[in-house]
């Protein structure tokens, strides 16, 4: 479904992403982990079309992507952002946020689609006409997920979707994402600094360091500790040390 070959992204003189390649099958999830500044979010922004200054080859469903994307692309590929406090327009109600993709893509039955969209992410219908500041962080992230799903995409790019939420809400949102993937057959690319989150949702995991993809391994291999690159081993050790014994997600 997604093919990335030798992707490079530069910010001025700094090369933030140095030629990474990966492929994701339809309906599968690919996780990218790495420390802050490893370039993992940059990969996602280039893939989503937010950053058009890249070189290399990217393709979705066999179609190569140009730096500037057409409306059709944005219908098929959507993104969920890290900070639910920043990703919703402060002056727009949930209803408006959800109807915006419908207007842009000329999709009918807004009323039904919005109500179904809210139900799908387990938001009560009363939340429909609230402003973001009247919602909790978890509810906001659900709205952001519902908005991403309005245009019925095939691919969802998730940029640290749970790291701004507190632990109990993190688990809810992760389970919601897992359910949605199963129900809709979505393809995920998930970026996170949290190994546990990535291992929970993704079959294949890529580890980034300094703009390079240093290792790609399966979630089972990661859980079992069969890591080959020292950076992966280090990340895994840190994550198991930090893990709270009663935490909802375990490696």
């Amino acid at each position: 479904m997604i093919d990335v070959v030798d992707l490079r992204v530069r910010f001025g003189r700094v090369e933030a992403v140095r030629g990474i390649s990966f492929a994701v099958a339809r309906g599968a999830s690919f996780g990218i982990v790495g420390e802050s500044g490893s370039g993992k979010s940059t990969v996602l922004r280039a893939l989503s079309g937010l950053n058009d200054d890249w070189t290399g080859r990217m393709a979705i469903d066999g179609q190569a992507l140009a730096p500037r994307r057409g409306r059709d692309f944005f219908r098929r590929v959507q993104m969920v952002f890290q900070d639910p406090y920043g990703s919703l327009h402060p002056r727009q109600t949930v209803d408006r946020a959800l109807s915006e993709p419908l207007i842009v893509h000329g999709m009918g039955d807004a009323e039904g689609r919005i109500l179904r969209g809210l139900a799908e992410v387990a938001l009560p219908p009363e939340a429909r006409f609230r402003y973001p500041h009247q919602l909790s962080g978890g509810q906001r992230q659900r709205v952001a997920i519902a908005r991403a799903l309005m245009s019925e995409p095939d691919v969802l790019l998730l940029d640290e979707p749970t790291s701004a939420l507190d632990v109990s809400v993190q688990a809810e949102v992760l389970n919601l994402l897992a359910d949605l993937q199963e129900r809709r057959g979505l393809t995920y690319v998930l970026v996170s600094h949290n190994l546990a989150v990535v291992a929970h949702l993704c079959g294949q995991i890529g580890v980034m360091q300094g703009g390079e993809l240093v290792e790609t391994l399966s979630a089972e291999a990661l859980r079992a500790g069969r890591t080959s690159h020292p950076h992966t081993t280090e990340l895994r050790r840190l994550s198991t040390e930090l893990e709270e014994p009663e935490g909802p997600i375990t490696l």
Partner: protein, 304 residues
């Protein structure tokens, strides 16, 4: 909607946590802003004063005791009395009636300038700020050029080049008043442009004009309204200054600045004649400033 017949019902409808329509949510938000604003006594004084001034100007034919242009040369420069509440000017015209009709001109000029200037400033600022690059550079250098001219001098030159009068004074003030709004809107846009919610809207595939108009501009509106309100006093002063210098409203029209200008010869002996329009200018300017300060407290996103 059936519960809105009573006042408490209306309040509950506005403040509900679960609005049933977009309009209800929007009115609820506005009502909350109004509640915050109402608590500010000084700002409310400003608002009430402005409403009274505008109402008085609109109702001038009803409130005036005399024809503002009727001369009574035997009764020049009279002190305030029962017949002439604020006295008479150098041609024996009733100052109170002239102030009322002059309010129409002065406040009308302010409204006209604002209606011309605010949309232009908002458009230039948001487009330059959102598009960036070459567009931004060209538009902002043009703005800088306009900013570099002293306001009153450019207005004077402009009026002198066309012909003195109210409409050219409006154009002249508008010409010099828009750059600060463009700057302000651009600065706001630069911070809005980088946010995740604009990124999310870009990812819906929305066109650039739609993003600017529907998503960026509404967020710039709050600080723009504040700035415009605070600037209204300086627009009044510029309009009055142009009138005073003979470049704005022409005699015998009772524009406040022109009234001071014609009465300036009597400043020392018959001080109340220029004092009355001066007081009108002072009260109007002060009221707009008080209102602007109050609006800033409730509208400025940085303070919320």
């Amino acid at each position: 909607m059936s519960t809105t017949t009573t006042l408490p019902g209306l309040r509950a409808w506005l403040l509900t946590d679960t609005p049933a329509s977009r309009a209800q949510a929007a009115w609820g938000r506005r009502y909350r802003i109004w509640r915050d604003f109402r608590a500010n006594g000084v700002a409310m004084t400003g608002l009430v004063t402005i409403i009274l001034l505008i109402a008085a100007a609109l109702a001038a034919p009803l409130l005036a005791t005399h024809n503002p242009d009727a001369q009574e040369l035997t009764n020049r420069l009279a002190t305030p009395s029962a017949a002439h509440w604020l006295g008479t000017d150098e041609l024996g015209r009733d100052v109170y009636s002239r102030l009322l009709f002059g309010g129409r001109i002065t406040l009308g000029m302010v409204v006209a300038v604002v209606l011309m200037v605010a949309p232009v400033g908002l458009a230039v600022g948001t487009i330059a700020g959102y598009l960036g690059g070459m567009t931004d550079r060209v538009m902002m250098r043009v703005t800088d050029i306009f900013l570099a001219f002293p306001r009153l001098i450019l207005a004077l030159a402009f009026v002198a080049a066309i012909h003195p009068g109210i409409s050219s004074a409006i154009f002249a003030i508008a010409l010099t008043a828009w750059p600060p709004y463009a700057r302000l809107a651009r600065a706001e846009t630069l911070t809005i442009r980088g946010t995740d919610f604009i990124a999310a809207i870009r990812l819906t595939g929305a066109t650039t004009p739609r993003i600017i108009l529907r998503h960026v501009a509404p967020l710039c509106l709050g600080s723009l309204i504040v700035r415009v309100t605070l600037d209204m006093s300086s627009i009044i002063l510029t309009a009055a200054a142009l009138g005073f210098l003979g470049m704005g409203a022409q005699p015998p029209s009772p524009e406040w600045g022109a009234m001071i200008a014609t009465a300036r010869d009597y400043m020392l002996q018959q001080w109340w004649v220029p004092l009355m329009p001066g007081m009108a200018i002072f009260v109007a300017s002060l009221a707009f400033n008080l209102l602007g300060d109050g609006l800033r407290d409730v509208l400025d996103p940085k303070q919320r």
